[in-house]
Structures are given as structure tokens and as C-alpha cells.
């Protein structure tokens, strides 16, 4: 190619532009644009129902008919691609378009009930709104409207009022195209056409709530919100989802101090316009079982105390102890996590701190310090969508980061090849058209070391991505092998934690050996700079205890006082260790929003805010800050950071800012660490445990998690609890319907299901009703169990 002009040679070539005229106004737009989008750019809104920018066009509702010069019939703007010189006249300038739209609107209203006053959609209803703007004032229809018995459940959560449906097929297209769950379909034909499910299989999709949101009428409603309020009575605030590390933008609607519903908010870079059902429906926990006042333990019993009394009590208890520890659950905002990281080093003068109140390992800690904490954003949703290849390791996106799943599915539809290193080809993997690289639990590191050449070559393609889940912590040598793979292939490596607060806590330095921004504690200049920023002479210089070591030390009486924040003991694989550790600590200060096993054992309990009562920032898996404002402006509950600030004052220690803005300033001033990073792990690949049956397990999206409490409709859409094994394994077991799985602590009896699972491995949900592996069996992934047919 010969470059004849230097001008613009460094500019990426633009999409070819064409000029069209809409209602007399010319616009240049990229070739291939739909007329309806072109009109939007000019601020001309063509009415529509079936059109949705993220769904493929169907041109079914015919509401968007426009008049195109030279075309004899009015054309649907939602399916008509622009061509150069096209002259489009919408309802604003064309009597033909106006008449066509009015005709369609009249037809749409024909069989639509006039039940707007009792319909949930009333007030935010595209049909209602567009009937006003694009309809005729009077209907000429005098016949009988089509009716259906109402409503029907398409799932425990989603209800369908069929007579309101306008057959736009947004819901069914969403189910098929976006979620990959075509369990909701158009049934019947003609005027009897209706949305529905198979007779014996409900629409149990993790993403079902989106159909309610995109329904342009009130046909689909949720059991949780149905008849609860009118949209115009609600106060809406933009928020960020607190459940997983996907980092969805949400809209929280509330009325009289209560959240009434949550919706997915438009965030093209992250969740597009979708969210998962947990993010949408699981918010009732916020009001349940709250710690409402400070509590102190007196004569073995917790009693209500005033703030000054409790702060004084806590300050004295902490001061009296000679050794300390801090456990921050993975649910904190980065601001709160930072406050803990700072409080530990400044007020308690300890580096014994960890946010990983879950399965963890020293190797993982090294991996996080060296390769994740404070690193710049490299892999994003957008780069995932464009990645030629994505390899998933110890990560089940549909359960563990559902919006990552949706984006990977979109990527796969566009040609991205997806591999999963694991023990089972799950339904989620099938929906991503992915390929399983079989690995017995515990053998992942060995499998990665022996990865087939074609996968390595694939991974060497520019833009390739390795996504590793937090479960890598449970794999000996896993993190080491993943780092080696990334190094060898040049693929981008990204860590996807499960909880919303983990990445922020890591970046904030809430992990032993790590200071904010990825600074190694052991690096003198890094430590010195942080000490200066925090206004202290020095910080602890030796790496403290974390993970199991911290708990073990506590159990052995080596920790005099412990602060817990958002700690759920049931999340620990060794529940006996967790409980005995807390019991053994002389003085426990719990900052919790809910009563829990920890508050039952604590000496002081401080109530702290839930996400609606504070502002803050979650850092999602990309490393992207997802800030949110306080939904309830007049909430009086304080954030963790504010309580810690008060506690420091009670201890006569100055710790710096405790308001969100102040903390953000401090974090911003520190920035990311440009210096040498902590050393990478180098653990040998672990040995696969010997045993007839090994457990592969992860947390399903909808399970027994405490943040799903109080939402029975959501719980009812959870996947059925089952032990999934291969055909061969099932045969060896004698193909029983039910099996009893036994571990060191006990047994569970669940139904047996055949799946594409590595022989000799049993897949079980980690924490589902009737099957909580840590508690009931005392096993974690990769450990051996016995299985017997049950009657």
C-alpha cells in the first residue's frame, strides 16, 4: 500500500459514512446503522415496542413504520438499514407514517386490557406513553377482548399476565440471545400467541428479572415487586450491586425508607442493560436481623450500650491486648477496607490482617500481592468481548460472576473460543460454546503445565485472556501454574474474585504484607511513604499473619484482640477452626450490620451501615472503580470507616480521614505503586488426593448465602440440588436416584444427576439448602468423599 498523504495516517480508519435525511434533517452516520438509531441521534423518537438495541431486530410490532422515499410501503425503522441518500419521513412529517403508526397502536390496544390503574407498569409503561403520543383518542373496537386466566407463573419469581402481552418477543429473544436460556418461548399461534414455558419446566434463568424490565407492557412482573407500589411514588437512585465482583450499575427504587425494587442500569462498559436475579431481587436481607445499637458483653451476655460506653469499652479492650488481628470480610467498599488496613497498622500496630474469610492459601496471598493488587486495568468487559481466546481456570462465570458470563457468551456468539479448566463441562460452559479441559480438582496446576499445544498456541494470540477464579486458592501450585502460563503465552491474566469487596480490599492493603496500591510492606521506601502519608513514624515492618495462619494463631491463644468486619464463619472451609479461633481470642470487636455467629461470640458489637445507608466504591474484577452514593440520604447508620475513626479517637489515636471523600483523597494521593512488587509464588503442583470420589464444588449463584435471606421467590428459582457425576461414575454407583455423600463431618443425601464430569469426581453445590459442604461434610474442593446409593 502506498500512503499518498501523511495527513490522518495515524488515525484509525473510520467506519464508512453515509448521509441520510430524516424529516428534512441530514445526518452522516456509519453504514449499517438502523434508521431508528439514526433518528435517535437527531433526537427524533420513533415509537417502538419490539425494538431493543441489544437484541436482534424482528420488526414484529410494526409500531416504528416510517415513510421512505421511493419505497411504496411504510417500512419498520428498527430493521431498515440506512443507505446513502435515503430520505426518511417519520410520524413528525409524514401523514403516511403517522397513519400507519396510529393504526398499529389501535390494533395493539384492541386486546389490551384497560387495567392500567392496577398494573405495575402504569406510569412507566411504553404502551401507555406511546398510546398517548402515537395513538388516536378513541378506539373504534366494540368487540370482545381476548382474555386469559391471570396471571400464570413462568417461574416462582416471574408472573405473566398474558392479556397484557403485545407479542413483542423481547423477553423470549432476551432468554435465547442474551441469557442462553430459551426456556421462555412464544407458544400457540395468531391471536392466541402467548409467552409461556414447557409444561413441566419453569423459566429458571439466573437472568429472568431482565425480562420484567424490558417488557414494554405490564405482562411480566416479579412476585417480589408485584402490586407493591406505583413507579411515580418511588425515589430512584443509581447504585452499584454489592453481591459479586461483576460491578453492575443498578437503580435502587425506594419508598418510605424501604427498598422496593432494584433494576439494571444502563452501563455499556460493564453490565450493558442487564443484571442477574441475585443483584435484582436479593436486597431484603438489608432490613433483616440488623444490629441496631452498640452491644457490649457483660457477665457473659451482650447488652445494649450507648456509643460512648461501647467505644470506651472497645478502646480499653484493644489497648489491653498485646497482639491483634483484623478480619475484613470480602464485602467492604474500598474506603472501608482502607480504613481497616490503616487502623490495623496505625492504631493496632499490627500487620495481622486479611480480607479472605474463605478458602485461602499463602500461595494465593503471594499471587495477589505480586500480580493483582494495585495493578492497572488491563482486561475489561470490552476486551473480553473482542478476545480471540479466553481460558477459565477455577472459575464458573454463570454462578460466580454472572455478568462476566453474559459478556463471555456474547463474545462466544461473536467467535471467541472459550476453554474451561475444571472437572465438569457445565451448562454455563455449553451456553458459552466452551470446551472443557478436564482436570480433577487439585490437578489443575498439573493440567496447566501439560496444556495441549493448540491451546497454548491459541493463548499466544494477541488479546487472549486467562481468567482465574478465587477458587485457585484451594489448588496447590495453582496460582504458580497460572502465572507461568501467562508468562509463557503472553496472555493477559485477570483474577475474578467472587465477592464485591475483595478486589477493593486488596487494593486498599487489607492483606498482611501489603499496603495500599499494591505496595509491598517489606519494601522500605513503600512502607516509609505510606507511614508518611498516614502521619506516623513507622509501620510494622514484618509481614503479619493471614488466612489460616492467623486463625490458627488465634485458636492457639496468640491473638489477644480481634476486629471482625462482615465476617461469616460459615464461609470458612474449616468451620471448627473458625469458631474455636474466635472463641479463643480474648477480646473480639465486631463491626457488623447483621447479627451472626461472630456477633454471638463478640465482646463488643458496633452496628454499621449496609450499602443503601452509605456511599462508597466497589472495585470490580476489571479493577474498575464502581462508586455509588448513599441511597437513603437521611440514614443515621455509620459506615465502618466512621466507626473505626471514632474507635481510634477513643484510643486517642489519629488515623486520618474517615469520610468517603477524605479517604478517596488519601487513596488518590497514594496512587498505585510504581516500584518493585512482592515476589511471585513458586509452589510446586499439588498431588491429587487419593480416593474413589473427589469433590468439585463452587457456590451457585442462588444458594444459602446470607445476603439472599428474605427473598423466597428468588430462592425458589435456584437450581435443584444434586450430585452430578459422569455416566461411568453413576454406573459404578449402580445408577441410584439418590446418593448419600459422606465426609469427615457427616453426610448429605441428594439426587444423582448425570453430567459431563470427569470420572471419579462428584460435583456438589458448596452452600445450598440441604447441601452445605463445609458444614455438613467438612470437605472442600479436591477432597475425597464416599458415595453410596440411598433409598
Amino acid at each position: 500500500m502506498t500512503i499518498t498523504s501523511s495527513a490522518g495516517s495515524d488515525i484509525t480508519p473510520q467506519a464508512q459514512l453515509v448521509t441520510i435525511v430524516v424529516d428534512g434533517v441530514a445526518i452522516q452516520i456509519p453504514k449499517g446503522t438502523l434508521v431508528i438509531r439514526a433518528a435517535e441521534l437527531l433526537g427524533i423518537e420513533i415509537p417502538r415496542f419490539c425494538d431493543h438495541p441489544l437484541l436482534e431486530p424482528v420488526a414484529a410490532c410494526r409500531m416504528c413504520l416510517v415513510d421512505i422515499e421511493g419505497v411504496p410501503k411504510p417500512q419498520p425503522a428498527c430493521a431498515q438499514v440506512v443507505s446513502d441518500g435515503m430520505q426518511v419521513r417519520t410520524q413528525l412529517t409524514s401523514p403516511i407514517a403517522r397513519d400507519a403508526q396510529e393504526g398499529v397502536m389501535e390494533f395493539l390496544l384492541l386486546n389490551h386490557p384497560l387495567d392500567c390503574p392496577v398494573c405495575d407498569k402504569g406510569g412507566e409503561c411504553p404502551l401507555q406513553n406511546q398510546a398517548m403520543s402515537a395513538g388516536r383518542p378513541e378506539s373504534r373496537f366494540e368487540g370482545e377482548k381476548r382474555t386469559f386466566p391471570k396471571p400464570i407463573n413462568v417461574s416462582a419469581q416471574i408472573l405473566l399476565d398474558r392479556e397484557r402481552c403485545v407479542s413483542c418477543a423481547r423477553c423470549t429473544r432476551f432468554a435465547e440471545q442474551i441469557a442462553g436460556d430459551p426456556m421462555l418461548e412464544l407458544l400457540e399461534r395468531g391471536v392466541r400467541q402467548q409467552v409461556g414455558t414447557a409444561a413441566d419446566q419453569p423459566f429458571d434463568s439466573y437472568f429472568s428479572g431482565n425480562t420484567v424490565q424490558i417488557c414494554p407492557v405490564g405482562a411480566l412482573t416479579s412476585a417480589a415487586y408485584r402490586f407493591r407500589s406505583r413507579p411515580f411514588d418511588l425515589v430512584s437512585v443509581p447504585t452499584t450491586c454489592e453481591h459479586c465482583a461483576s460491578g453492575c450499575s443498578l437503580r435502587t427504587d425506594h419508598r418510605r425508607g424501604t427498598v422496593t425494587r432494584r433494576l439494571a442500569w444502563d452501563e455499556p462498559a460493564v453490565n450493558e442493560e442487564w443484571n442477574c436475579d441475585k443483584g435484582r431481587f436479593a436486597f431484603t436481607y438489608q432490613e433483616l436481623g440488623r444490629v441496631e445499637t452498640p452491644l457490649i458483653r457483660e457477665d457473659g451476655q451482650l447488652r445494649v450500650a450507648s456509643w460512648p460506653e461501647a467505644l470506651d469499652f472497645a478502646a480499653r479492650g484493644l489497648a489491653a491486648a498485646s497482639s491483634h488481628g483484623v478480619l475484613v470480610g470480602g464485602r467492604s467498599t474500598i474506603e472501608d477496607a482502607y480504613a481497616y488496613a490503616r487502623f490495623a497498622r496505625v492504631a493496632l500496630k499490627t500487620d495481622n490482617i486479611d480480607f479472605r474469610v474463605r478458602d485461602s492459601s499463602d500461595e494465593e496471598a503471594q499471587f495477589l500481592r505480586s500480580s493483582v493488587a494495585g495493578t492497572a486495568v488491563r482486561t475489561t468487559y470490552e476486551t473480553l468481548e473482542k478476545a480471540p481466546v479466553v481460558v477459565l481456570i477455577a472459575f464458573e462465570p454463570e454462578d460466580e460472576s454472572p455478568i462476566v458470563f453474559l459478556r463471555l457468551r456474547k463474545a462466544a456468539r461473536g467467535g471467541t473460543r472459550i476453554y474451561s479448566v475444571g472437572a465438569a463441562a457445565t451448562r454455563g460452559l455449553a451456553k458459552m460454546r466452551g470446551t472443557l479441559i478436564p482436570a480433577k480438582p487439585g490437578a489443575e496446576a498439573a493440567v496447566l503445565a501439560e496444556l495441549a499445544e493448540h491451546v497454548r498456541v491459541d493463548l499466544s494470540t494477541p488479546g487472549a485472556v486467562i481468567m482465574v477464579g478465587e477458587r485457585i486458592a484451594g489448588v496447590e501450585g495453582g496460582a504458580t501454574a497460572v502465572l507461568e502460563l501467562a508468562r509463557a503465552t503472553g496472555a493477559a491474566l485477570t483474577w475474578v474474585p467472587r465477592r464485591a469487596g475483595e478486589r477493593g480490599a486488596l487494593d486498599a492493603g487489607a492483606l498482611a504484607g501489603l499496603l495500599p496500591g499494591g505496595r509491598p510492606l517489606t519494601d522500605d521506601s513503600a512502607r516509609g511513604a505510606v507511614a508518611a502519608a498516614w502521619g506516623v513514624d513507622s509501620l510494622p515492618a514484618t509481614v503479619g499473619l493471614a488466612g489460616t495462619a492467623l486463625l490458627t494463631a488465634a485458636r492457639d491463644g496468640a491473638i489477644g484482640a480481634l476486629i471482625t468486619a462482615g465476617v461469616e464463619l460459615a464461609d470458612l472451609p474449616d468451620q471448627i477452626l473458625g469458631r474455636t479461633a474466635i472463641e479463643a481470642v480474648g477480646f473480639v470487636v465486631a463491626l457488623e450490620n447483621h447479627h451472626s455467629a461472630v456477633t454471638e461470640l463478640a465482646d463488643v458489637v458496633f452496628p454499621v451501615a449496609v450499602v443503601t445507608e452509605k456511599s462508597g466504591t466497589f472495585i470490580n474484577w476489571e479493577g474498575r472503580p464502581r462508586p455509588f452514593a448513599q441511597a437513603f440520604k437521611d440514614a443515621l447508620v455509620m459506615s465502618d470507616a466512621v466507626v473505626l475513626g471514632m474507635l481510634a479517637s477513643a484510643m486517642n489515636i489519629v488515623v486520618g480521614a474517615s469520610d468517603v471523600a477524605g479517604i478517596r483523597r488519601e487513596l488518590g494521593a497514594l496512587g498505585a505503586w510504581p516500584g518493585p512488587r512482592a515476589e511471585q509464588p513458586s509452589s510446586p503442583a499439588g498431588q491429587v488426593v487419593q480416593g474413589a470420589y473427589l469433590v468439585a464444588t463452587w457456590r451457585e449463584l442462588i444458594d444459602s448465602g446470607v445476603m439472599q435471606e428474605g427473598e423466597p421467590y428468588l430462592a425458589a428459582t435456584a437450581h435443584a440440588v444434586a450430585a452430578t457425576v459422569s455416566v461411568t461414575t453413576a454406573g459404578a454407583l449402580g445408577n441410584p436416584e439418590l446418593v448419600t455423600v459422606t465426609g469427615p463431618l457427616g453426610s448429605v443425601t441428594v439426587s444423582l444427576q448425570i453430567g459431563d464430569v470427569v470420572d471419579g469426581v462428584v460435583c456438589l453445590p458448596l452452600n445450598s439448602p440441604g447441601c452445605a459442604l463445609y458444614r455438613d461434610l467438612g470437605v472442600r474442593s479436591g477432597q475425597a468423599v464416599t458415595i453410596e446409593g440411598a433409598v
Binding site: R62, K73, A100, G103, V104, R189, V191
Partner: protein
């Protein structure tokens, strides 16, 4: 140009009882067209069909050769031929008799057409309600396969073809070509957005030609006997002959094969006129989806162009004739009920419009229409025509305005008098005389 008389071609040997077998078909010269075609360059066959001027016999009359020519060649994708034998248009009964009596003409046409468009897979989509025809075609395909005319390396040409007989399951909309494709792919038979057109992205998103069964049955004869022979029948714009099925109140309803351009009155003569020496009240040249005509239109040539000029369409070329015993209100109502039943439900105007119009017409049928609604219905039809997703909506909007044009008084009378009171239904039965005697 021959535009009168009877010209049996496809039907020429129907009186031979074994025509449906390959032996019987071969005895009358069958598969000679294929023998000729397989030695030709495929593009030459496409050229020949283009030159013949053959137009689709399914209703739209699109030039067949042009359709074949749209298929991109050397595109590396599989090509498919799909025969539309979903004959369900009210009044049309010509494809089923062709399949029943002369299935090998269809099969031979399929092989030639597949060869021409470089398809190695052909499907014959036959409506499910006709097991007797499905059986005959399936048998013909099996016999052709056994004779080496279907399968690998046909007649040593290197061309290979598989033909699959596919049974539908009861949906008029599947006669719409893209709905047929969805149905053939195992989905609900709802029409697809165009573009892409089937010639580019049809079955399994690959280039596909969809032709009506009668159209395909013409192919062997054109290839065998040549373009000049074919073009001597019919007119410049409507060349060839047509299997006319004549039904209704005629003395001898049945199959009449005649050149295009023949008039209805000539055909009616062959069919023995209207029963009892009666008169034509109204007639439809090709299915319920084309506007009706009256006795004054009997001398208009039955061609695509002349029918269009008369404000109607040749359609499937299967005239239905009704005598004066028939209530046009009842006839139109019944057709609308059909379109309502067969509307696929995808688009609003057709789904809701047919529901509304049918309800109003049913009132008229029972003598409870209102004068205002006589005109409202016209407006409702105009809200469907040209605005629906596919031609089914246009078809549904056709019968009423056409009927109103000639029989307004009857609809106005139906504001007080039911159709049955205006016209004794028994009088229109074909067995009425027998019953009353």
C-alpha cells in the same frame, strides 16, 4: 402464441394408471429432460429457464430463472433447493394432484433444478395433511434413488444429490417461503426478515432456491422440449401452460391444463358452465388471497399481466366460481376466519387486524352489522395491507374491499338480515338438488 384450447403437458399421461411409477413415467418419455440437462453446463440450464420466461406458479409469479440466477456461485457454501408443496391456499388444488398423479415430473424437476443451482441437497416440503400425496412423492424419490437418478454421481456426471421429503404439520403460513424455511429448520413457521433473501441466506443461512411444486414440474418439459416450444404457449409476459383447478358451482369441476392467456369463459365452457344453467356471481382466479371478480370479467385472459390490469392477480391459477345461491358476506367472513386462524401471530396488524375484522364480519353474517362498520372495515383492511410483516396480512386485507366493490348492497343488507336469511345455505350445497328431490 397459443392462448386457447386445452394443452395437457404435465397432465398429458394422467390416464395411465402406472404413471406414478418410474417405469410408467419412463414409458412416456420421463427423465429425458434430466438426461439432456445433466450433460449441459448448469449455467446454461439457468439461462434456458430464464429464456423460457417461466414464472412461479405458487402465486407471486416471480421469474424462475431469475430466482435461480440470484444464487451466488463458487461461494464455498452448500446450496439448497426447497420445493414448496405446502399447497394450502383456499381454492388451490393443483400441486397435490400433480404429486399424486405425476410425482416423477416433480422429482425430475428437482434433480435438474438442483444440478443447475449446484445444490447437493433438496427438500420437498409437503403439507402434512396429505399423506396420500406424500406417499407417492416419497415412493418416486425412492425409485429414482434406486435407479441412480438420486444419490452419488448421477448418470456418471459427478453430480450428487440427496432429496428429503418433509411433512409439514398444519400451518398455512408455511407457504410463505421464509416461514417455510423456519419450519423446515424445526421452528415455528414464522416469516423471516428480508434481507437477507433466501437466495443468499436461506436454509441453514446458505443460498437457497424455493420453488413451487408446479413450477418445478414444468422444468423437465422445458429442458426436454426447448424454449421455443414452451414459449409458443401463453403470452410474452406469461409464457407456458398452467394446471388450472376449477372448483365451485361448475358442472364439471376438475383439473384442466391450458395455456396461459385462456379466458375464464373458455375454461368455464370446458367445465360445462355453471350448474343448472346458472350464472357466475363472483369468481377468484387464484385463491382467496386475490381480489374477486364477477361475470363481467370472464373474458379477460388469465395471465399475470391481464389479471393485474383487472385489479386482481392470477395467484395460484386455480379458479373458484360461485353462483347466485352464495352469500358473499358469508364467503368473505369464512375467508377472514381462515386468515385469523392462520395468522402466525408475529406482527401486530395481521394478528390483531384479522381478529377484529373477523369479529365484525361475524356480526354481519348474523345480520347485526352496522352501516358505519361497512366503511370502518375498509379502513381496518387498509391498516393491515402494506403494513404487515408478510403477504398473509395483505391477503387477509383483500377479500372484503374486493367484495364490497361489487356487493355493497349485500353488506348493507346484513345490518338487519343475516346471510342465511338473505341466501338459503342449502341452495348453495352441491348436493342440494339431490337432497330436495
Amino acid at each position: 402464441m397459443i392462448t386457447s384450447g386445452l394443452t395437457p403437458v404435465i397432465t398429458e399421461h394422467w390416464d395411465k394408471p402406472d404413471l406414478y411409477t418410474i417405469e410408467g413415467y419412463r414409458r412416456v418419455g420421463g427423465y429425458q429432460g434430466l438426461a439432456t440437462a445433466i450433460k449441459m453446463d448448469p449455467d446454461a440450464i439457468i439461462g434456458q429457464i430464464k429464456d423460457s420466461g417461466l414464472r412461479g406458479r405458487g402465486g407471486a409469479g416471480f421469474p424462475t430463472g431469475m430466482k435461480w440466477g440470484f444464487v451466488p456461485q463458487n461461494d464455498g457454501k452448500p446450496h439448497y433447493l426447497v420445493v414448496n408443496a405446502d399447497e394450502s391456499e383456499p381454492g388451490a388444488c393443483k400441486d397435490i394432484p400433480i404429486m399424486l398423479a405425476n410425482p416423477h415430473a416433480l422429482v425430475e424437476g428437482v434433480i435438474i433444478a438442483s444440478y443447475a443451482i449446484r445444490a447437493s441437497h433438496a427438500f420437498i416440503y409437503i403439507r402434512g395433511e396429505v399423506p396420500h400425496a406424500i406417499r407417492k412423492v416419497a415412493y418416486a424419490v425412492e425409485q429414482a434413488r434406486a435407479s441412480g437418478l438420486i444419490g452419488e454421481n448421477i448418470l456418471g456426471s459427478g453430480f450428487s444429490l440427496d432429496v428429503v421429503i418433509h411433512s409439514g404439520a398444519g400451518a398455512y403460513i408455511c407457504g410463505e417461503e421464509t416461514a417455510l424455511l423456519d419450519s423446515l429448520e424445526g421452528y415455528r413457521g414464522q416469516p423471516r426478515l428480508k434481507p437477507p433473501f433466501p437466495a443468499v441466506a436461506g436454509l441453514y443461512a446458505s443460498p437457497t432456491v424455493i420453488n413451487n411444486a408446479e413450477t418445478i414440474a414444468n422444468i423437465p418439459y422445458i429442458v426436454d422440449r426447448g424454449v421455443p416450444w414452451f414459449r409458443q404457449f401463453g403470452t410474452e409476459k406469461s409464457p407456458g401452460f398452467k394446471v388450472f383447478s376449477i372448483s365451485g358451482h361448475v358442472v364439471r369441476p376438475g383439473i384442466y391444463e391450458a395455456p396461459l392467456g385462456i379466458t375464464m369463459s373458455e375454461l368455464l365452457d370446458y367445465a360445462g358452465g355453471i350448474r343448472g344453467g346458472g350464472e357466475v356471481k363472483f369468481w377468484l382466479p387464484g385463491g382467496s388471497s386475490v381480489p374477486m371478480l364477477t361475470a363481467e370479467h370472464l373474458d379477460i385472459p388469465l395471465t399475470y399481466e391481464d389479471m393485474a390490469a383487472a385489479g386482481t392477480m392470477l395467484g395460484t391459477g386455480t379458479p373458484m366460481l360461485f353462483d347466485n345461491t352464495v352469500s358473499v358476506v358469508k364467503a368473505v367472513t369464512r375467508w377472514l376466519d381462515f386468515y385469523k386462524h392462520e395468522s402466525c401471530g408475529k406482527c401486530t396488524p395481521c394478528r390483531e387486524g384479522t381478529y377484529w375484522i373477523t369479529g365484525v364480519l361475524e356480526k354481519f353474517e348474523h345480520g347485526r352489522g352496522s352501516a358505519a362498520e361497512v366503511d370502518t372495515l375498509v379502513n381496518l383492511c387498509s391498516q393491515i395491507a402494506g403494513r404487515s410483516f408478510c403477504a398473509l396480512g395483505d391477503a387477509a386485507a383483500t377479500p372484503y374491499p374486493a367484495a364490497l366493490k361489487y356487493f355493497r348492497a349485500e353488506f348493507e343488507a346484513a345490518t338487519s338480515t343475516s346471510a342465511d336469511a338473505q341466501f338459503d345455505p342449502v341452495a348453495s350445497y352441491v348436493f342440494a338438488e339431490a337432497a330436495t328431490r
